[in-house]
Amino acid sequence: MTISYLLKRLGFFVLVIWVAATFIFFLPRLAKRNPIVERMSETAQAAGFIGEGLAEMQKDWEAKFGLDKPLWKQYQYYLRDTLRLDFGYSLAYYPAKVVDQMMRALPWTIGLFGMATLISVVLGSLAGALLAWPKAPRFLQYLLPFFLTLSAVPYYLMGLILLFLFAFIIRIFPLGGGYSVAVAPSLSFPFILDILRHSVLPGLALVLGGVGFWALQMRAMMVVGLEEDYITFAEAKGLGGKRIFLRYALRNVLLPQATSLALSLGMMISGAILVEVVFGYPGLGTLLLKAVSGFDYNLINGVVFIIIIIIAVATLLMDVLYPWLDPRISYGRRMR
């Protein structure tokens, strides 16, 4: 991998982040909603309406949040604050800062989404590779259409169905949340077990929805890969089936799978967010729902921005690791 490729890729990363930040800044200002006025009139109504002094109060608040400055100045401040991941105060839960709320939710989402993605990609790829392998068990052939159909169903519907079946009808898993209220959060074995128990159903929803897709892709590439000359050569050498499968066939078709993983991360996290909403899982999705229903402008922007960053970082990492995974690829270097 050359420096110029790395720089180019980093440039793209910065571009994505900048476009996202700019979009999040300008869009609310194009819309005619003013969160300060909305919140003030809400509070005023709740307290029994007092019409006096609202205009001055609004001016005061706008000065406090820097909204009386010219637009380009606001933009400048905004970019600076965003770089420090400072999204100001939550409007609906006022004294709380957006960043604290996000940091509390972030590990849940990364844990659930990361584990579920890993399991579904590994399982799906292995199953897909075996589907194309002539010596694989027959029953796999009948499983693929089933899982493929499941992968067409959105994750969150799968979540609803699983929740109904395994938490409501057969009560083996909890109905929602990240951990039981009765258990005190600590780094003890029962607590970790409790967390795992709570993450089974949301994780299963994500895995069931993903496996078929990865299997189908892997199978398509494996079919082509098995016709390569090096496979014939390996067979001619008399190598064992397991060795040919793992070292010769599988290893070479794993790479396109990594590319398509990088491309579909955005789609997948959108699904994961909604699964969290179904289960009331304490991650970014549930936080986003709270922000939207309370019209908490800063919190919405913060959560949206952090999700975009997670995906951008993950894609960047995969792209940077890709040439390292595959020694045949050398971006930007001339062929000799």
Partner: protein
């Protein structure tokens, strides 16, 4: 007559070879029929709130029961299927339209325009679209109407069609028949409309179905967060209400099961349709699953 019969036989024979297309079309047609026949038999006004008794389990009077607000859920399902299909088809069509224009501009003319269009769609494709739509939808003052919902969803459903069409145009424009058409005095627009478009039809159809599926997915995702058309009984909003009124915990399965089943059927149908059309557009995929 004979020719027509022969033709129908041909279609039937093709469907046997391409069962995915056949089953996809049947599922979608069944849903459309459910909506059409339903709106003839059951009055759509019963889908409005406060028109029936609240929280009734299924009975002869209310075949699918009613929700907490007294909506007749059978009527809701019929109206909702229609609304959801409409959002998907119209948003998908707008997305495809934008995709066709941008794809041809980018693939056929190339140059700086190509760099910009390709860059924009690449940036947007890596971004989780749902959260971008959340920002857009949450900034809209007042209630979101159906047309607004369609526009919001359509605004981000053009990237995949653009990329697919661009890639096809890039390979096609080098073909000999395009050169011949140009030499025989066709201008660029004529080449695009008369030579490229007809050859792209299967791709356009597949892109359209994919864009529709994406649009339905996005609209239901937004509805899940309460950002759908709040006053309309779309399938997504019905599930949103059932979750926010804890239908499952209260044992009101008739509230959330029907929309879940219909949405799942819709997605499976669209998925099979895309796979079937892909097989027509891309013969190399044949002998698939």
């Amino acid at each position: 007559m004979n020719a027509l019969r022969k033709r129908l036989w041909g279609v039937a024979a093709y469907c046997r070879r391409n069962p995915k297309l056949l089953s996809g079309v049947s599922i979608i047609l069944a849903l459309v029929l459910f909506w059409l026949i339903g709106s003839l038999l059951v009055s759509p006004t019963r889908a409005a709130a406060l028109t029936g008794l609240p929280s009734q389990p299924p009975s002869w009077q209310y075949l699918l029961g009613t929700d907490t607000h007294g909506r007749d859920l059978l009527a809701v399902m019929m109206v909702g299927t229609g609304l959801t299909l409409r959002i998907g088809v119209l948003a998908g069509a707008i997305g495809l339209g934008i995709g066709i224009i941008l794809g041809f501009l980018s693939g056929y003319y190339g140059g700086f325009l190509d760099t910009v269009i390709k860059g924009a769609s690449d940036v947007l494709l890596t971004v989780p679209l749902l959260v971008v739509l959340v920002v857009v939808a949450s900034m809209i003052p007042g209630v979101i109407s159906l047309n607004l919902m369609i526009l919001i969803v359509a605004s981000l459903s053009w990237m995949l069609p653009t990329r697919a069409i661009r890639a096809q145009v890039l390979t096609m424009r080098e073909k000999a028949y395009i050169q011949v058409a140009k030499l025989s005095g066709m201008n660029n627009l004529e080449v695009i409309v008369k030579e490229l478009m007809p050859n792209l039809l299967p791709y356009l159809a597949a892109s359209f179905v994919a864009a529709t599926a994406g649009a339905v997915l996005a609209s239901i995702g937004l509805s899940f967060l309460g950002l759908g058309p709040q006053h309309l009984p779309t399938l997504g909003m019905t599930i949103y209400w059932s979750i926010s009124f804890a239908a499952m915990l209260r044992g009101m399965w008739w509230w959330w099961v029907p929309p879940t089943v219909i949405i799942a059927a819709l997605f499976v149908g669209l998925f099979l349709l895309t796979a079937g059309l892909d097989e027509i557009a891309n013969p190399r995929l044949r002998r698939g699953i």
